[in-house]
Symmetry: C2
Subunit: 255 residues, 2 copies
């Protein structure tokens, strides 16, 4: 698993470094037209803001409640195990780091404007105030082809009074299943989300998302995902999610 | 249409005023246990912050681009029409106001804590910086049983580089179809969202969501929704959304 993650990680890094070394900053930026819409095409190094050490949003912070911490420690303790000889080695689970820009790794991109490009932030990490919105951490288990996400839903995610917005739940499901599909199949795009909402999630509570591979066939990766209460006793949603493999450079370079 | 909306509006107002006059602020707040979870139950008037004139987020602001404004004016001009005699009367479309708390209307609620209750904000209106996240306005047409939403996707909604997060699109679909179902059937909860993603939405662009009633049967309301480019030429997503009628007081009062 770590090897796969390592490859993905290095692939993204390579993309980033390639793009930043091969194509220096140019003025004015080149444009590209996709189905009648003119985009600014950028293959430039981002400001040092992004090239220095970025904040990893999936590490504990002061807003994490006891349930979030308990579950984090449960999975995190299984990321490294000790052999009988006292050596440390990879455990069954691996924690995934999380940043507020995909462009940390891949500095290419096709944007409608330079302003949008410079200000763009990952939807699930767009609020810096700890605990206010999406607090979550993902762990993957390659042996079991599973992905786990511990999610604490902050006060800015309200839908029905006192409960999490259905769209915020869908957002976490898309995030977890999409990450899982990417690990299993490389770059993908969401083709279908079919979400059954069984019971509402109280605002402020911590829930578990668990995704499993159902099927891989050609370009298709089918993932199932359950959202349950943190002790697993209550089912909140059940989902099937279909992803299609894509050539990432199409999206990234507008080619 | 306006009559229906008026009834809903007055119903919410009545709920709010009833709850705030019948149950004054008490310390400590009463608690209620729902399936093993203890909530703070509040039936109190919210601070004057919410009882004075709230900001209507669905009115134009400086961040709205030309496409957003053009479509807004197109539908807004059909909200009031002039008769042959020169009198003004309701047109086929009605604009829906939009606030950042449901509790503007209904001051009851069941929350895990008083802090969460006081800080809770509607997910789609949780960022005050104009243009940064969800800019949208809904219009309803009772004659055609349709709902239209004009949506400009801000830079904080990024998923794939340069494009809107699938969860942010799902959030707008849930918002539009849920509002439509509520107008048609009274209080509802989302039971199923089945979203087919056909083509990604460039970050910063303006798109149209159009929802239509498919079927009403007992407690079920089935709505379909398309997301297209602002000129309707490009299909981004197709969705069916199922809603179940609920007794709103169950959710609101924890009873």
């Amino acid at each position: 698993m770590a090897r796969i993650l390592g490859r993905i990680y290095k692939g993204f890094q390579r993309l980033g470094s390639l793009s930043s070394t091969q194509t220096p900053l140019r003025h004015p930026p080149p444009t590209v037209s996709v189905r009648g819409t003119t985009f600014i095409r950028t293959m430039v190094a981002l400001p040092s803001l992004f090239s220095s050490k970025p904040r990893d949003f999936s590490l504990p912070n002061s807003s994490w409640g006891s349930e979030m911490m308990r579950l984090y420690e449960h999975y995190n303790s299984q990321c490294e195990v000790e052999t009988e000889g006292g050596e440390k080695q990879e455990g069954p689970w691996q924690r995934l780091p999380s940043y507020n820009r995909l462009l940390k790794y891949a500095t290419g991109g096709v944007y409608l404007s330079k302003i949008i490009q410079s200000k763009a932030r990952l939807f699930t990490r767009n609020i810096r105030d700890p605990g206010a919105a999406f607090e979550y951490v993902l762990f993957v288990n390659s042996e079991e082809q599973k992905c786990i996400c511990i999610f604490q839903a902050g006060h800015l995610l309200e839908g029905p009074p006192g409960h999490v917005h259905g769209g915020a739940i869908a957002t976490m499901i898309d995030t977890v299943t999409g990450t899982h599909a990417t690990i299993l199949s490389g770059p993908v795009m969401t083709a279908n989300l079919n979400i059954n909402y069984r019971s509402p999630i109280p605002l402020g509570s911590t829930v578990l998302l668990e995704s499993s591979l159902e099927k891989k066939e050609g370009r298709k990766t089918l993932i199932s995902c359950k959202v349950t209460s943190s002790d697993g006793s209550k089912l909140h949603t059940e989902t099937t999610a279909l992803f299609l493999s894509i050539n990432f450079s199409h999206l990234l370079l507008g080619e």
